[in-house]
C-alpha cells in the first residue's frame, strides 16, 4: 500500500503553504518520522516527517507549489510494496516493457540505433489523450488552463467547478461545458450572486471580479518574481491592517542614560551569570508589558462591535530574517510576558529569535500576540511610523539610541536619547491615552525601575 503524505493543519489560520524543497527525492527510502519536505506557511517554515517507512514513490507537489491543508503531497510505498517495486527497475511503478520502437526507426538506416524516440512515457501527471485518463496523479479531475481561467474570471470556486457536468474525456469539464454553465447561470433568475460575469468570455474582455494575474513580461534589466509564501502573506496582512485600523503615530523621546549605563556595566557579568546576552530589548518588553497592564485598551482587539480587552500580555517581537532582511520578517511571541522576570524574558527572547532565524520555530510560537514590539533602532532608524500587527491595537517601535545635547536643569547636557514611536488604532485609542501610555514606559526606562 502507498501511504499519502498529507499537508497537515499547521495552525488555526493556516489554510495553505508552499513547498520549499523536497529533502527526499522519488525513489529514496524514508524512515517514519524522518523529515522529507520543507514547507513554508505564512507563519513559519517547517519540515514534515514521513508518515510511514518505505520508498518515496511519487512527489505530487513539486517545489514552489502552493498546497492546501489536506492535500496529498507525495506517496510513500510502504515496505511490502516497495520490496516488490525494487525488484523491478528502481522507482518506476509502471512496468516498462517497451514495445519495439517501430515508428522511431528511420525508413532507411534505422538499423544501427533504435532511436530513443518511442520510449513509452509513464506520464502520470498530465492526462493523456487516448487512454481516456482525465485524472491527474493527485486523483483530482484535470482542469485545463482555459477552464481554470474562465472559472477564476467568473468567481467559480474549485468546488463549484467540480459540480459542473463535464462532456470531455472521462467527464472532464471542457471550455464549452463551463461556458454553457455560466450562460445558464446567468439566464436563471437568482442563483448564487455571481459577481457580474463579463458578457463574452471570448477575447480579452476585462473580467470584473478578482482580476486575474496577467503575466508580466520583464523588460530589459527587470526580473519577475511571483508573490508567494511569506511575502504574499505579509503583503496581505499589512494591507488588511492598513485598511482596517485608523493609524496614527505618536512619538516620545526617552533619555536612556541609566539603561545604557546599566548595560555597559553588567553585560559581561550578566552573560556569565545567566548565560544570556544582555540587550536592550528585554527592558523594552518589560516596560511595555507593565504599561499594558495599566493601559489595557492598548492591549485590546476591536472585533465587529466588541472590544476584547486582555489583562494578560503576549508580546510579539518582530525579527527580521536574512542578512539584509531580505528573507522577510517573523513575529515570535513571548507568552504571558506579564508573569515573567526580566531574566526570563531575556533568555526566551534570545532563544526564540535564534530559532526564528534558523527557521526551527513552531507555528504556535508565532500566534496569539496581543501587542507587538519592533526595533528599527537596530538598523539605525531614528523615527518611523510602524504599521499595526492586525488585529492588535497598537505597535511600539524602539528607535536608535543617539547621543544628543539636551537641556537638563537649564543646562545643556549630552545624553543618549531614543525615540519611542507608538502607532495605534485611533478607533479605540485617543491621543491622551496613548500619550499617558508612552509616558508610563518613558518613566520606567528613565528611572530604571526594573529590579524593584
Amino acid at each position: 500500500m502507498a501511504v499519502a503524505v498529507i499537508m497537515p493543519e499547521l495552525g488555526e489560520s493556516i489554510v495553505e503553504g508552499t513547498i520549499v524543497r523536497w529533502l527526499k527525492q522519488e525513489g529514496d527510502s524514508v524512515q517514519e518520522d524522518e523529515p522529507i519536505v520543507e514547507i513554508m506557511t505564512d507563519k513559519v517554515n517547517t519540515e514534515l516527517p514521513a508518515p510511514a517507512s518505505g520508498v518515496l514513490q511519487k512527489i505530487l507537489a513539486p517545489a514552489n507549489a502552493t498546497v492546501k491543508v489536506g492535500q496529498e503531497l507525495a506517496l510513500i510505498a510502504t515496505a511490502s510494496e516497495s520490496a516488490a517495486a525494487t525488484a523491478e527497475p528502481p522507482a518506476a511503478p509502471a512496468p516498462v516493457s517497451a514495445p519495439p520502437p517501430v515508428e522511431a526507426v528511420g525508413f532507411y538506416g534505422g538499423g544501427e540505433e533504435p532511436a530513443p524516440v518511442a520510449t513509452p512515457a509513464p506520464a502520470p501527471a498530465a492526462p493523456t489523450r487516448s487512454d481516456g485518463q482525465t485524472r491527474s496523479a493527485t486523483g483530482q479531475p484535470f482542469i485545463s488552463p482555459v477552464v481554470s481561467k474562465i472559472a477564476r474570471e467568473h468567481g467559480i470556486s474549485h468546488e463549484e467547478l467540480l459540480t459542473i457536468p463535464g462532456t470531455g474525456v472521462g467527464g472532464r469539464v471542457t471550455r464549452k461545458d463551463i461556458e454553457a454553465y455560466i450562460a445558464q447561470r446567468k439566464a436563471a433568475p437568482k442563483p448564487a450572486p455571481a459577481p457580474a460575469p463579463a458578457p463574452a468570455p471570448q477575447p480579452v474582455a476585462a473580467p470584473q471580479p478578482a482580476p486575474a494575474t496577467q503575466p508580466v513580461a520583464p523588460r530589459e534589466g527587470e526580473e519577475i518574481i511571483p508573490l508567494v509564501g511569506m511575502r504574499k502573506v505579509i503583503a496581505e496582512h499589512l494591507t488588511k491592517s492598513y485598511q482596517t485600523a485608523v493609524h496614527v503615530t505618536t512619538v516620545i523621546q526617552v533619555d536612556v542614560s541609566k539603561l545604557v549605563e546599566f548595560r555597559e556595566r553588567n553585560k559581561e557579568s550578566f552573560q556569565q551569570q545567566y548565560g544570556v546576552r544582555l540587550t536592550y530589548t528585554p527592558f523594552f518588553v518589560k516596560a511595555c508589558t507593565d504599561a499594558l497592564l495599566e493601559f489595557p485598551m492598548m492591549n485590546a482587539t476591536l472585533q465587529d462591535d466588541q472590544i476584547i480587552v486582555r489583562h494578560y500580555v503576549h508580546m510579539g517581537v518582530a525579527v527580521a530574517l536574512g542578512e539584509q532582511g531580505e528573507e522577510g520578517l517573523i513575529v515570535p511571541v513571548i507568552r504571558d510576558a506579564h508573569k515573567k522576570s526580566l531574566i526570563d524574558i531575556a533568555r526566551e527572547l534570545e532563544d526564540i529569535a535564534k530559532r526564528a532565524r534558523n527557521k526551527s520555530i513552531s507555528v504556535a510560537e508565532v500566534q496569539g500576540a496581543t501587542f507587538t514590539l519592533t526595533n528599527p533602532g537596530s538598523y539605525g532608524a531614528l523615527i518611523g511610523t510602524p504599521i499595526i500587527n492586525h488585529p492588535q491595537t497598537a505597535i511600539l517601535g524602539t528607535y536608535a539610541i543617539v547621543k544628543q545635547p539636551i537641556v537638563v536643569n537649564d543646562m545643556i547636557a549630552i545624553r543618549p536619547m531614543m525615540n519611542l514611536c507608538l502607532s495605534y488604532d485611533h478607533r479605540l485609542i485617543d491621543g491622551m491615552y496613548a500619550g499617558r501610555f508612552l509616558q508610563r514606559i518613558k518613566r520606567a526606562i528613565e528611572s530604571f525601575e526594573f529590579f524593584k
Binding site: R129, S148, P203
Partner: protein, 328 residues
C-alpha cells in the same frame, strides 16, 4: 481576373516582375531552352533573352551563388532548384552567405534573392523529389520562408518575394502545380500578398488547424468531412512560414482553445513544434486540450505508393486527430 493553375500563377508572377523590373533575372537548370522541368519558365528565354534567363550547369551551389553575387551588385536573382530537395547543395550559400550578408555589411548590402522550386510528396517522387525541409530555413536567421497553397497567394507572394530585400526560400508544392486552379488578379492590378500574413481559409469554432502548403487542402477536406459530424474546424493557411503570423494564430486559439498543427515534413523538430511552443508560451491560459500535431513520420519519403502513403500525413490522419481533440 484570370482563372489559372497554381503553376501558371507562379509563372505569371515571375513574368510580370521581369517585365516590370529589368534587374530581375532567373537562373537554373534547364530553365531556358527547355522552359524548366515543370514548364514554369516556358517562353522566358524567348521573351527576356539569355542574359536574364540563364541555363546553369548542374550545380545548385553555383546557381544560388550567382544569384547572391548579382544581388550584392544590385540585381534581383531568382534561383530555381529543379527540385527544392537539392537546395542542400546550396545550403551554405543560403545560410552563411545570403542569410548573413546584410548583417555582415552593417546593413548596407541587402541580398534580394528568391530561391524557389518544387517541394513535397504525394507524386511518387521518392527520396530526392519529395521532401519538405522548410524547417532548415525556418531555423535560419536572415531568411524568409514562404509556401503558398492557392494560385492567388502563389501569385501575390511570388511578387512580394521578388520585391523583398531579404533572401526568400519559396516552396512550391508540386502536387498543387496542375491540380489546383483558381482566380488571380489581372496584371494591371499590381497585386501582391505581403510576406508574414496568414490567411484564414475556413472559419470555424471548435478546433484551430494551423497549416500550410498542400496540407491546407487536406485540412479543408477534413473540415468538410467533420462538418457533417458537427465538428467545426478553423483552417489557418500560414502562407508565410517565416516570419510567422502569431497574431492570427493566437486570435484563433483564443476562440477555439484547441489546436491541431498539420505539416508535411517529418514531425520531429518541424515548424509545428515551434508553433506549438509559442502557443504554449503566449496563450497557455487559453488552452482546453493538449496541442496536437499531424505530420510525416520521421522517415524519408519512400517510392512505393503504399509506403509513401504510410509515411506522409493523410486527410484521415487529420480527421482522426481532430475527432480526438473535439472529444477531449
Amino acid at each position: 481576373m484570370r482563372e489559372v493553375t497554381f503553376l501558371e500563377a507562379i509563372r505569371l508572377a515571375m513574368w510580370e516582375e521581369m517585365e516590370r523590373d529589368p534587374n530581375v533575372f532567373i537562373i537554373g537548370e534547364d530553365i531556358g531552352r527547355m522552359g524548366g522541368a515543370f514548364g514554369v519558365t516556358t517562353g522566358f528565354l524567348e521573351r527576356f533573352g539569355p542574359d536574364r534567363v540563364i541555363d546553369a550547369p548542374i550545380s545548385e551551389t553555383a546557381i544560388i551563388a550567382v544569384a547572391v553575387g548579382a544581388a550584392a551588385a544590385g540585381k534581383r536573382g531568382i534561383a530555381e532548384m529543379q527540385f527544392i530537395d537539392f537546395i542542400s547543395y546550396g545550403f551554405d550559400q543560403v545560410v552563411n552567405v545570403a542569410g548573413t550578408w546584410l548583417y555582415r555589411s552593417g546593413g548596407k548590402t541587402p541580398i534580394p534573392i528568391v530561391v524557389r522550386g518544387p517541394s513535397g510528396g504525394y507524386v511518387g517522387g521518392s527520396l530526392y523529389h519529395s521532401q519538405q525541409f522548410e524547417a532548415w530555413f525556418f531555423h535560419t536567421p536572415g531568411v524568409k520562408v514562404v509556401q503558398p497553397a492557392f494560385p492567388d497567394d502563389a501569385y501575390g507572394l511570388m511578387k512580394a518575394a521578388i520585391r523583398d530585400n531579404n533572401p526568400v526560400v519559396f516552396y512550391e508544392h508540386k502536387y498543387l502545380y496542375r491540380r489546383i486552379k483558381g482566380p488571380i488578379p489581372d496584371a494591371s492590378e499590381d497585386y501582391i500578398v505581403r510576406l508574414g500574413e496568414a490567411r484564414i481559409r475556413r472559419y470555424g469554432s471548435d478546433i484551430t488547424v494551423v497549416t500550410y502548403g498542400a496540407m491546407v487542402h487536406f485540412a479543408l477536406e477534413a473540415a468538410q468531412r467533420l462538418e457533417k459530424e458537427g465538428i467545426s474546424l478553423e483552417v489557418i493557411d500560414l502562407r508565410t512560414i517565416k516570419p510567422l503570423d502569431m497574431e492570427t494564430i493566437l486570435e484563433s486559439v483564443r476562440k477555439t482553445s484547441k489546436v491541431l498543427i498539420v505539416y508535411e515534413a517529418p514531425k520531429t523538430g518541424g515548424v509545428g513544434a515551434e508553433i506549438s511552443a509559442r502557443i504554449t508560451e503566449q496563450a497557455f491560459e487559453w488552452l482546453d486540450a493538449p496541442i496536437m500535431r499531424v505530420a510525416a513520420k520521421d522517415a524519408f519519403v519512400p517510392f512505393a505508393e503504399p509506403l509513401e502513403k504510410f509515411v506522409l500525413p493523410s486527410v484521415d490522419d487529420i480527421v482522426f486527430a481532430a475527432r480526438e481533440l473535439a472529444a477531449y
